[in-house]
């Protein structure tokens, strides 16, 4: 634009003003979602703080007070039934149904109002509010409808199978130890994988086919077959066949390390090859040998770039430790999935699987958080990777 505008202290707000209607749509959408989430939690909290008894309705639905085995009668009822009963009572309460119906209706209203009007909004800010209101509305009505379906079905079965904290008490020591063992196995395998991966990646970037070929064969075989198969061959085939007499625990870590090495090698190769050719030329022209150039210039820079994909590999490895269950670890060495399965077979209660899912998340979520933070840092240029200013 040729026109010269007056200098102002603040940048002009190009998004424009809002309006009562746009704010209204946003409010309806926001309230529908907020009522759904906060209302449901509040109802559950209210019932949790109430009397811990097993009501008639719970008994009618099969959540029966637990009676231990005696000489005259076998054990009966559900362990932890008072705890499960208040969850069920909360879900079945009229207040819960009212919350859900309100959320669905208000949510749908926001969606309809938003979709019908967002194209005709005069300012960016208004359109933005209307669209966000409609999005909240969609989330509230979909979530509300799903919960309503859940309530109308047989929530008592889900509660006893997924939310029976009492059942966890039977084998809870396995769970905690399983968490530690899973982390230990993953760390040990990853350490082996990184050492192997660095060596393999250096072989794969060689200009000589004779050097590259064996590394490529190794990588392709380990990347091209399931870890489950590798574990089976490693234990039943190699360990038994060669009379190595190693425990499942050791074999599993070694096989997972060999497997991680193949993936890590590809990550490192990509990292090394992403460094500008000029870095190698600069180093060589200063008299560095190839290995010195790698060590002082290329590899340190590549390492920074491969941190996010490497952590991703580690997250996958943590989850893959669950495959060791097919080899059968001894009871005192059970990793997290094995521990959960042990608990399940002792109690026939799937709450164990919910518990170990949470266990995996406790390890993996911080990792994923670190990956995202590092990626943001790399993108923001704090770790400058290009020479140009």
């Amino acid at each position: 634009m040729a026109e010269v505008s007056e200098t102002t202290a603040e940048a002009p707000d190009t998004r424009g003003t809002s309006s009562r209607f746009a704010d209204g749509v946003f409010a309806v959408g926001f309230v529908s979602l907020a009522v759904l989430l906060i209302g449901t939690l509040a109802i559950q909290a209210a019932f949790a703080l109430g009397p811990r008894t097993v009501t008639e309705r719970c008994i009618a639905r099969g959540i029966i007070p637990f009676v231990p085995e005696t000489a005259t009668s076998p054990q009966s009822g559900n362990a932890g039934s008072p705890g499960m009963c208040h969850i069920l009572e909360g879900i079945l309460s009229p207040a819960q149904t009212a919350v859900l119906l309100f959320a669905i209706v208000a949510g749908l209203l926001a969606v309809i109002a938003g979709l019908a009007t967002y194209r005709r909004m005069e300012t960016r800010r208004r359109r933005n509010r209307v669209v966000v209101g409609a999005v909240f509305g969609i989330q509230a009505s979909v979530l509300g409808a799903f919960l309503l379906w859940f309530i109308r079905a047989t929530p008592e079965k889900s509660i006893t199978q997924f939310l029976n904290v009492e059942a966890l008490k039977v084998d809870h020591t396995f769970l905690l130890r399983g968490l530690v063992i899973t982390l230990f196995m993953a760390l040990a395998a990853e350490s082996l994988g990184i050492v192997l991966g660095v060596l393999l990646s250096l072989l794969t970037i060689s200009k000589r086919t004779a050097v590259r070929a064996p590394a490529r064969v190794y990588i392709n075989i380990f990347r091209g077959t399931p870890l489950l198969v590798q574990l089976s061959i490693g234990y039943f085939g190699v360990n038994n066949g060669l009379q190595l007499h190693q425990s499942v625990f050791v074999v599993a870590i070694v096989v997972m390390g060999l497997n991680a090495g193949a993936y890590t090698a590809e990550v490192f190769r990509a990292g090394i090859q992403s460094i500008e050719q000029g870095q190698m030329e600069a180093a060589r022209s200063l008299g560095f040998s190839y290995l010195q150039a790698m060590r002082y210039s290329i590899v340190p820079q590549a390492l920074r770039r491969v941190i996010p994909p490497l952590l991703n590999e580690f997250v996958i490895l943590i989850k893959d430790t669950s495959l060791v269950v097919i080899l059968g670890l001894p009871l005192q060495r059970l990793e997290l999935f094995g521990a959960g399965q042990q608990g399940y077979s002792d109690t026939y209660n799937a709450t164990y699987f919910v518990a170990i899912a949470i266990g995996y998340l406790i390890i993996t979520l911080p990792m994923i958080g670190i990956v995202n933070a590092v990626e943001r840092r790399l993108r923001s240029g704090l770790v400058s990777v290009t020479g140009a200013a």
């Binding site: 022209s285 560095f288 020479g387 140009a388």
Partner: protein, 247 residues
């Protein structure tokens, strides 16, 4: 120790193929001590390839390079040792981005020349002062302007005490207002008697500082002579055409 003919470096019948592409088609060239040889020519004429053949960053497909009285194209030559005597500065600076300006300079001194850390630091600061960047010693390349980065790159090469400096279009990636500071460093260097080979598009610099000018086209040296003479009186049609396009 110069070559038998007194030159610092001597190229003999250099050919270079990239696949089917015949980039250098028989180059014979000598650089005498203190000479500032300026190489000009259209893009794709082989100037940079020729420059990179001098320190064997590109291996000639055919021909020999004599340095220190030895044929350094001989496979048994220790190129790492040879390259410590030949400094090169690139268009893209190629500083190590994860090291400070000072560390960029001390690293090769310590790891290649095995200079003690204290001496390396002293030598690095001397060169940084020379390129007027002593106060930027602890800055990372990403915190420096293009002109400053290029001056650090020159200081890094000079700290190795080379007998010959190669410059590969060192101002081409710079914003126009930053070109001057880099050219000034190169002028000072030429005045100090450094033997230099400069591939450049800066015609003013070429005429003013160069003691000999080469015009390359199609992988051969088309004209070779005193810069002022070449400028005022180009002999070949191709050079006349080249000047008419760029001036």
């Amino acid at each position: 120790m110069p070559n038998e003919d007194g030159s610092v470096v001597h190229l003999e019948g250099i050919h270079k193929w990239f696949g089917e592409n015949h980039v250098l088609r028989g180059i014979d060239l000598s650089l005498d001590p203190g000479e500032v040889q300026v190489v000009i020519g259209p893009s794709g004429s082989g100037k940079s390839t020729l420059l990179r053949c001098v320190n064997l960053l590109e291996l000639p497909s055919q021909g020999r390079v004599w340095f220190d009285g030895k044929d350094i194209t001989d496979i048994r030559t220790d190129l790492n040792e040879v390259r410590t005597h030949i400094g090169i500065v690139f268009q893209a600076f190629n500083l190590f981005p994860h090291k400070t300006a000072l560390r960029n300079i001390t690293l090769p001194l310590e790891k290649v020349l095995h200079v003690s850390p204290e001496d390396a630091k002293a030598r690095a600061m001397e060169q940084l002062t020379r390129v007027k960047l002593a106060e930027k010693a602890d800055a990372y390349p990403g915190q420096l302007s293009g002109g400053q980065q290029q001056r650090v790159a020159i200081a890094r090469a000079l700290a190795m005490k080379p007998r010959l400096m190669l410059f590969d279009e060192v101002t081409s990636a710079l914003d126009p207002e930053l070109v001057g500071e880099v050219l000034q460093v190169m002028k000072d260097l030429a005045a100090d008697g450094m033997t230099m080979m400069v591939v450049t598009h800066e015609m003013g610099f070429a005429r003013e500082v160069g003691s000999r000018m080469l015009f390359m086209d199609g992988g051969v040296i088309v004209e070779d002579g005193d810069p002022r003479a070449v400028f005022s009186n180009p002999e070949s049609e191709r050079l006349k055409q080249f000047f008419s396009q760029i001036l």
